[in-house]
Amino acid sequence: MAATDNPLLSDRDVEFVLYEMLAAADLCRLPAFRDHGRETFDPYVQQARRFAREVLYPAYRPMDESPARLEGSGVVVHPRMKELWPQMVGLGVIAATRPAAVGGASLPLTVATAANAYLMAANLSAYCYAGLTTGAAHLIEAFGDAHLKTTWMPRLYSGEWTGTMALTEPQAGSSLTDVATRATPRPDGTYAIRGSKIFISGGDHDLTPNLIHMTLARLDGAPAGIKGVSLFAVPKKREEKGALVPNDVHVTGLIHKIGWRGLPSLALGFGDAGDCRGWLVGEPNKGISYMFQMMNEARIMVGLNGVATALVAYHESLAYARMRPQGRPLLSKDPTRPQVPIVAHADVRRMLLRQKAICEGGLALVAFTAKQADLAAHEVDVEARRRAGLFLDLLTPVAKSFPAEWGFESNALALQIHGGYGYSSEQLPEAWLRDQKLNSIHEGTTGIHGMDLLGRKVVANGGEPLRILLEEIAKTCARAEAAGVDRAWVDRLREAAEQTAGLVMHLGALGMSGDVDGMMRHSTHFLMLFSILVVSWLWLWQATLAKEGLAEAGADAAFYEGKLCAAQYWIATELPRVDALAALCRSNDDSFARMQDAWF
């Protein structure tokens, strides 16, 4: 029952995002969510919050200090993890957002996002055993045959077993085109699987009696490249005569990671003895398209990993800054006066406010994107549903990358505020900094998402997704003016939106004219520009709600004033970067393009 002083997230901010910003309770008008309302949302978020603070968080440091070990042929997880798993499963985390037909609770992803943020902030590794299992089970739910749906899927959703994503191979990381694992049909309808996978998170453990690896492999005779990759469910142990027997899946190595140390990452060998069986999921050669259909949710999850990891560190540094006495006010150097807590220094507040702007902007971003996922899947109105789907696709690369990139900076600031103590492993900020780094690498690197955003998303459907964003920005600007938000903030956002629209036209025209290199050269810079624009919009929106909130009697003034300061900070310091980045993208600066390998 050891409670923590670190709140992980601000409960008030979670309430603000869910209800004041996203009107989450309105989702219950949709048939999919009709069994829900605030009377189920609030208690569930409260349970997740309490579990995160009282149970998951106290286990974070021990699990970071002694990672999972390879003993003999298998992985032994930290003993605390064995206590956490049944409790986390018991909360209903794994199948929360899945329909009742598969044993789920049909919870909107928007609300699950709030609940999961607490779990991730408390103990990212522990949460991810569940997150990966949801992903694996969802793949079977969406594309598996009746056999897989009745045998393995329920065991995943119930947490009896866990699941993994076995995509990456030593020669095929970002480039899944090069997957080389083979699948050979067997007379009984299963497939003999043979190959090597690497960086498989949760790929072996002693937490549950079995695991299912959702594995990409190539059927014999399949076309070369991405269109010859199929998806298989490959169990660690298969059932024979009612018993679980080894399925010739072996741990060939355990990665010594710098973060996420509670969750083992493994190299796995499939079929070294010629006795590994896989079950085809869906149709042959469609593996990648199946994975793509799951990717929005996986990427929203990684975005939330980033936000949560930044948030827990932000709150740690905030508490530290309020407690740590050091120095005196600038104009009061009297050494006989007591020192002041460092939060009294404006530059420390700068670092705290930057973290707040990144973290709370990131939470709003991921939660908003999750809401688009809910609407894209469950909205009844066909047009609104289509629109949400386009918006979701556009925002996904931002929701995935912004928390990872800006979150890393936020985590570094949390460490900075701790000074010399922050640079020691006695304090936790260094651990969260290590954890955060993975989020710009897995589930598509930042570079990949830059290409995805510029090459596919903003130019999709003749630019319709971008138009949707611009319309939303225009609406927010109008509401901000009506609410009395500083006119200069509104104008700046309008200008940045126009500038971005113009830039997309320009780059799109380059692409159309065949100059793909000219269009795509600065795709990562474009992703940065676009992320800043989107998050600035979300901050103007929050500032608007804060103004409206302050106008009401008995308002939560401190909370709303804090929102206004963070919005002002973001618009004053970050939004202007859009100018420079837009100029860079337009100029087609060729410094790194013409730089040659030999010149480094």
Binding site: M1, D35, P43, Q46, Q47, R50, F51, A105
Partner: protein, 274 residues
Amino acid sequence: MKILVPLKRVSDPDNANKIKVGAGKVETTGLEWKPNPFDEYAVETALRLTENGTNAKARLGEVTVVTFGPKETETTLRAALATGADKAIRVDTTDDAIDGDLLARALKALVEREKPDLVLLGKQQVDGDANQVAQLLAEYLGWPQATFAGQITSEADKALLVSREVDGGSIKLRVTLPAVVSVDLRIVNAVGVTSMHTPPTHKYSDGVRFAALMAIMAAKKKSLTEVKLTDLSPDTALKIKYTGFDLPPARKAGVKIKTVAELVQKLKTEAKVL
């Protein structure tokens, strides 16, 4: 076994309490509310006594939770239903209209109506800290009582062996049912409750259980009835009247003392403790 658990929402102890000068009460608008922690321990105890811990979903008894308060306190009851309680009763009233004695008299009437084998309560509320209701209720019912239970062993659902937390150790009492028992913090340890239904090898997690999402949804459909306070106790006169509330006076700054002689002097003349 049928168990009745009275519970109450209290203002979050982390709130900064606001005192309206001269108002004779604590300002409650804008406060965060949470269930009284000792009441949550009582619910957890009741659940452990009425289940097999290895298969907690199959109920082997009945736990009724009751609260006294306005409509919005039903949130507290639903939360208890979500953790496993079977039904709930809300006695419609407000905090200002009840005190410990009226509560005990109303509970007595409710006990006569519901006929539980056991009334389990938190040892006290963390807002008023009065620690009276369990004792008064036992007296009014003429039932045996055991307060501050840190450990309970159920003996064939006929009697309870209760280890009470007292200064300097614990006292063991055997109470035959029906009885009134109030619980202390330690009751929710992994081995706080020993029930005949749960194998002795089973270890509970420390603390009160978490409500599963599915149980939160199912709790919406469980029975929650409303009763009027006057139906339970036509006499609603209060024995406790609050005359005023004030914040504790701010501490005065200390002084630095140079010599031992000066210290002794001050202890004699100012503090007057020597």
